[in-house]
Symmetry: D2
Subunit: 394 residues, 4 copies
């Protein structure tokens, strides 16, 4: 209850792990800092393990629980379904929800296969015609510094884009004895670093430049082919210690690829879980013929901007601390210089989604945007499987 | 309702401006991410303007309102009073609350005068004897990187402290046409940059080193002696435009001071609202004979640490991204590399306060710690008024 | 005359532009700071324009001049020929010099074609059998921070190399009206960004890792196909102003490529003259399974090193200021903290070359190392011309 | 011989330690990169130990030697005397040289006492009337980034100066077992960190702002009062090992002081040899009401500039890489992005000094500028000795 007179928007969420916690914080927090045209109510959390779901619902602040996504989707008091499950279940849940007339927020990647993603886009477009909205959760778009980057490009401040380089670097698999998990199993995860984090790299590049990747040449690698089976994963088989059972890694540890952009620029992308010392470093640089931008999520409240039209004697990359009232979202939080953190972008996502629903507009990134990312990832995989041969994108 | 079986802790808050919003977010959020031994319930928000209080309570998530702090303090369902009002009202409210048996969280600075602060300490000590707890809100202590700094000093990793330099830099008054506000009026604010932000600098220096300042030499300055009267401040008198009425600035724009530390080191402090381009830069460096630490709140998830005992060929300041599970508080938030923001420190403050209350311990920083800061600020003012002559602290 | 009792080493240099100035400073300076086992004497500067050569010799400190490289090579008082001419003349001069029994220092790239480079390697190997030494000028190897990087890898401090990313970024062609020069003409320059600066990127990657690139997938681009003809280039044709004659750019403006390393790691390379705001940024990062390194020539006295075997709570990239006596070369210059500049690496090159000659050893990088770089560049070109298809290296 | 037709300028240098090596490199190098109106000839190196002087002269490139400064000053072929000896000998040598009609370049600090410095200024002014020039070696002024800082202030780009903070941080005494040397003996060195490096801090502050310090409040400290006597210092007494003889430290290890600037701003200064991990970090920040500057000698080719008049959404500290042809001195060295090192500033000093002599102008910093710095240091010492009481400067 935040005293708003806005009409309620009943929310149901499926899944309650890392993403579920982040989304819950966003649903709880958005109406406290932003004036929302609809008032989100956290009505139902869905999941199969009734005890765990109840415990999560209490902890995360959901009023009720449902023992299946089907039950959740069927509830009359749910206007929007927030899909926080692993990728292989996205299509089924999202399509059913859209067909049931529920707005959908779906975590990324949109789906594990192109076919599923295409079906989701079709469902989203059909739903949109009936006023039912959908959005895919490429949340990093809503970091204020990323918004500023997009705006500077859109305003022509860096001119024609010549180069984009994006690295999404993590290191949690650098240790060869790090255990197996479902994320390293192709059946469950679809792909490894490429789909999990490379997808963000692609989405950010396309979002900030406002261009599409038109072709790629890829290279993928699994450095460690077998890992100890973690206890929770192994069941009876082992405990993750060196003497324990080992299982195969069936996804990529790292993926690198070259690309062309629709405006004629070149892209270089890297996604890895083996960049020792980089925990969640999304590093992005765009060079245009009138200026450049640089961003690193390790310093997420900062954007570096070089204006090449300035007098050379005083030109240089400006370290813009993106905490001014002029910057997107920021004015609703704290005074200048008081930085935001990781989860704020999820709150911004809720703000934009609720705003679009109330305005009767399609929010972005759309399922079609999500599919566009999937097509790039698929092209990278096909190129990597075919001697890095160029794969053009439509 | 977060499903906890913990006993409730009824909270009442007085004041609902910037600090009130930050504290509310903390009370709301702490039980969602941390296992608290008592369950805070946001019961009453107090303030004189009934309409404004009701609106704020709805927005910030308080169940009920009170039209005066006296009414709030008198309520049986309030176990803890959170004082977020301006400094001149702290003593009266906090003492009354403590005497009424309520735990107190009081925003900094503890009070506007030494006398008031001393009375508060006396009240706190009397209350503590009855199991009633009090804490002053030097929140920056609870930034994980600051906690790590403290721990490294305590563990002897930098050896004997030789130098502390702390700069708290803001720039919102650099423009001579920035309007007057209550913060520039000595009657209301007590002091200017010195008390508002210099107090944090002093507390951080004492917290991280575990030492006290034993004497100071100060210099204070008001660069702009008259400013346009802001509309909301001027009432009928003006609108803040250049032609409008102007009023006197009666506090310091900047304060700088030298200090000695109880361990024999030297301190250099600076607090200003005229450091153009620095919005909320708290920059801190400590040099010990075995190592050094460096921190800048503009990059709040990072601590730099130099270990002087290492081989010189590979020694260097390490940029520690303080987002590992090993770091204070961090494990309850997100995976490594997903940074926190400004308001998280307020959530940590709630966690520590509630933990201490449940454990029957006195939380820190205590009112006595707050008084220690006030004594330093007072000594700086006296030194500045007396030709920068050294003023020893007891 | 620097008072040494070392035997003299007569040096003749061909070419006196940018590289000639840098090499001259090195020959002049090396014996002033280092104890050289042979004493270099700057005997002859060679070039076809007698007036210009005489003027350059006076300015740069050469005792005498020669009107052709043939004349210079033939002189008895020349023991070493320093080849600072454009790449297309390297093979002819270097081979003649080696056959005449002169040691050779040859600027990079070794040659404009693989065939020439192979002939040079053959000549170098034949000469080495007779005690005549040769070296190619990949000078960046001799930046102390790069030496430290190499040493840390060789000492196993970062473990097995998983990723290398190298970007050599300049921006002098970002402006579409920047004039044509011989460097943009394939006949003269061989290639564009790839050969000029990409060659350094490849050499540094191979030097620091101690591995070879075993295959590549490349993409090259010319963003601006026609440029105003610069006055000095145009002769009678134009003056470089927008209305002036325009001529074609026949080399690459940018080249990007993926690679595999002999140890199983992945490489990502980028060479461009269109990275607005980056003047001469050689940025290099290596991730191993036990640690990582990071270097940027814009901050050339610093190496960042992450040791992943440290306690996670205090691990972080160390900013090593590479100016300690323990660091390569540095002890002969200034006290710790007094940084070196661009040209110091040329002085170090002289030191190492003279040392190897006196010791009767083959210096590195050898012509074979230079050829290895050429082979990589050639493979990148072939891949880029063939749809980015993978090209394996022997 | 650099082929110049410029008239010769005979140079004699006294002293050949660290500063002598730096000055020699400058005299050797300046005419190679800059068009000097007079041609410096390195004629005589003076010193009392004939063997050592001869060896140094050979190594550093001086044609001849003199066994006393008196002999050197008396030589007809010496037009300029370069004084690189310790401070206590400066007055005697410089005054004699000026009286003998020789131009003088004198290392900093100008002298060990105010009285000597005043006598030197008197001699310099008398000499100037006869066309004999003098300059004191505050070399850091001639780092291109510092020149740019000065220019931006002079051009009004940062407006009225509100704050200057300068830290000169070294760490070579942080280890309590670091040995005694003449620099720690008040009789020989005059003062410790204050005079040796604090003097640079003061000169830089006054140079960049174009203002004078008008008063100070100081605090000085000797952290380690007794140190092992180094072998070379101890003679028969010991070897510097822990069991060896120990001697007293009679100078300051660190000095900190507050100041007022003539334009009304506040200054905070710090000079220490105990800042672990900082080898030669001269860090300088100036905040004006229209902008700010920031510099760190650890990254000497970079100046950070914040323009507060820009649109807040894109304002930020610009990292200006000061290697453009537009920047002072830089165009004579290398292309943009190829940084300079420590000793380049000495070469620039020669360039400016020779230029002033040829132009018949008084170079800066003058001896009077050097005296102004001494007066500040003296005031700091007096304040520190008198309870940090404010000491006004004339």
């Amino acid at each position: 209850m935040d005293g708003t007179t806005a009409a309620p928007l009943g929310v149901g969420m499926v899944g309650y792990a890392f993403m579920g916690a982040a989304h819950s914080q966003a649903w709880r927090t958005a109406p406290r800092f932003f004036d929302l045209p609809l008032h989100p109510e956290m009505r139902v959390l869905g999941g199969r393990d009734a005890v765990a779901v109840k415990s999560a619902a209490d902890r995360l602040g959901w009023q009720d629980t449902a023992s299946s996504w089907q039950e959740l989707v069927a509830r009359d008091d749910v206007d929007l379904v927030d899909v926080c499950t692993p990728g292989r279940t996205h299509a089924e849940i999202a399509i059913a929800a859209l067909e049931a007339g529920k707005h959908v927020l779906c975590e990324k990647p949109l789906a594990n296969t192109i076919e599923e993603a295409e079906a989701m886009v079709a469902a989203a477009e059909a739903a949109a015609a009936r006023g039912v909205r959908s959005m895919v959760g490429y949340t990093y778009r809503r970091v204020p510094a990323v918004q500023l980057a997009r705006q500077l490009v859109a305003d022509g401040r860096i001119g024609a884009v010549r180069h984009v380089r994006v690295q999404y670097l993590q290191d949690w698999l650098a240790d060869p004895e790090a255990p197996l998990s479902w994320r390293l199993d192709k059946q469950q995860a679809g792909s490894g670093a490429l789909g999990d984090i490379g997808s963000h790299a692609v989405d950010l590049a396309q979002f900030i430049t406002g261009e599409r990747l038109t072709g790629v040449s890829g290279l993928m690698e699994t450095f460690v082919h077998e890992r100890p089976v973690a206890a929770e994963f192994a069941g009876l088989h082992g405990t993750g210690d060196p003497g324990a059972a080992r299982g195969p890694v069936t996804v990529d540890d790292a993926a690198v690829f070259l690309a062309r952009l629709s405006g004629g620029g070149l892209g270089v992308f890297e996604a890895t879980r083996f960049a020792t010392g980089r925990k969640n470093a999304i590093r992005l640089e765009v060079n245009g013929d009138r200026g450049s931008l640089s961003f690193d999520f390790e310093d997420m409240n900062v954007l570096h901007f070089h204006d090449a039209t300035e007098d050379a004697a005083v030109a240089g990359f400006r370290r813009i601390v993106v905490t001014e009232p002029e910057h997107a979202y920021v004015g609703r939080w704290w005074p200048a210089g008081h930085g935001l953190g990781y989860e704020h972008a999820f709150t911004h996502q809720v703000v934009d989604l609720v705003g679009a629903i109330a305005a009767g507009q399609d929010p972005t990134p759309s399922f079609a945007d999500g599919l566009a990312v999937q097509r790039v990832l698929d092209a990278v995989e096909r190129s990597a499987a075919d001697d890095s041969r160029w794969v053009a994108l439509g």
